[in-house]
Amino acid sequence: MDWLQVYGQLLRIRIFEEHVNTLYRSGKMEGLAHLYTGEEAVAVGVCQALRQDDYITSTHRGHGHCLAKGASLDRMFAELLGRVDGYCRGKGGSMHIADQERGNLGANAIVGGSSGIATGAALSARRRGTDQVSVCFFGEGAFGQGILYEVMNMAALWRLPVIYVCENNLYNEYTPAGETTAGAMRARAEAFGIPAHEVDGQDVRAVYAAAERAVSRARAGEGPSFLLCQTYRFHGHHVGDVNRAYYRSKDEEEHWRSSRDPLPLLAGWLLERHQATPADFERLEAQVRAEVESAEAFALAAPYPDSGEVTLHVYA
């Protein structure tokens, strides 16, 4: 594994979201933007273990999942800006980006709403005789949604090649997960006989290792797995969520930003083992920034869909 290249992917998401933040604050982007900043290692670590034809389903906080699965920056920006060159011709927006060429079955604005879709993709892979694997990304808030238990039960019964990846960033919107989640999170999957693994979601190498095991298990037809990734969102629930002191402390945020940031963690590891030099990181960052800037410029210049599009694609 080329971990410097992996670092580049974390950085790509980090800088993409920085730009989304600016676009939103400068009024160039409308709607809602749930930034993935701080959680990059989960999406990247998991998708490193996947093939292009493997499936993922994503969430309202989905930009990282899309990019990690290989989406291109320009069409991502275009979608967020509602332009016709976006992945969904501007009709989906931030919460509904889908990229079927790379197996991304789409972000979902219904919490837990994609758990059935991911499980169904696994059923379909099995039925069609492929060895594709399906990954369901979801936030710990989805533990509140009954459908998650319904589909985990069926995935376990039918030994489907699906991996449930919980991004536990400690908050459901503005409510601490502790106030919404009784018992141990991993027990929610173990109750169905699904093996559960707890992972440091800030350590991309740890996430990759755990995902690797779950993926081979799924490909081998040994059934579903559950990954509980402990992580944190560095920004608010969405870009508009600025005054958050009432639900989480500045100290807590500071702690995660300063000592649990997946990028410095991986960079430090690479430097220690002399697998990269400070110059490498500078080069990489310059390159990624340039890439992101030109992608954003492309999107800002891209046309809006014309009005005829509004009635297009209601039916296939």
Binding site: G92, G106, G116, I117, L123, S124, E150, H313
Partner: protein, 336 residues
Amino acid sequence: MSTRSEVVAAPVREITFAQAVREALAEEMRRDPAVVIIGEDVAEAGTPFKVLSGLVEEFGPERVIDTPISEAGFTGIAVGAAMTGLRPVVDIMFGDFLTLAMDQIANQAAKVHYMSGGKLTVPMVVRTTMGATRRSAAQHSQSLHAWVSHVPGLRVVLPSTPYDAKGLLKTAIRDQNPVVFFEDKMMYSLKGEVPDADYAIPFGVADVKRPGKDITVVATSSMVQVALRAAELLEAEGISAEVVDPRTTVPLDTSTILASVGKTSRAIVVDEGYRQYGVTAEIAAVIAEGAFDHLDAPVRRLGAMDVPVPFSPVLEDLTVPTAEQVASAARELCGR
């Protein structure tokens, strides 16, 4: 009786509504390995209505999939399977249980194609039931097709005969979109002519079930049978009623309906859903607007009574439109 034996039966045969549904499924499953059935007690049990009997024996448990009692979950699984190459036919035992799967039907299945800018498709069918007077009380007797008819992205089918059931279900399975297919429990044993040869009935094409000239009765599902009985009564009294069956509420064949009313200048709409904010309202509004210059009388609507369906047989029978009620409404409109 096994599906195969039916298929080799005489050219023009009478089979039941349930057999017609089963034949459509069996023939499509033979034609296309992507078609799978998923739901509660669909395999060995063949559903409580025995509609699917024999299918698991022919196609095996990998294609006729028994599930836990998880309407939301297996409907969601079908959505994902449909997005990735299968053509699932979901079985929701009682239409009342659509309440549990509405998110997967209305927020996921109906919207995926549009939200993805046309890249993803969801070719799935949700088969479910409707219809009261089975003494099953308030949570097993509703006809909730108005809900799904309200949601863009879904197609909604309401067959009224074995012939239509088979032809429309084939179209539903072959369609690229999510389709909700309503079967009236009380019609499963209804017999009708169904040809041997493969045929499919297009969506959005109403069928004039009985021609007439004095009044148009637009009726759906089992209410078509009620309307036909009413037409018999009326004929004896010299009133010639035309019975129009839209067959699909989405898409709705407004031109056939309006052509009929243009001819008769009187209309009644009969549907077994609740009357308030139901399917009769849309069809009546379409007629009132589209045939404004032709109508000699206001459009009359007959739906299920706006009450939860009571268990007591004497009460339940009052809640569903009858041939006599349709006939008397027709008499009034025709000034008899």
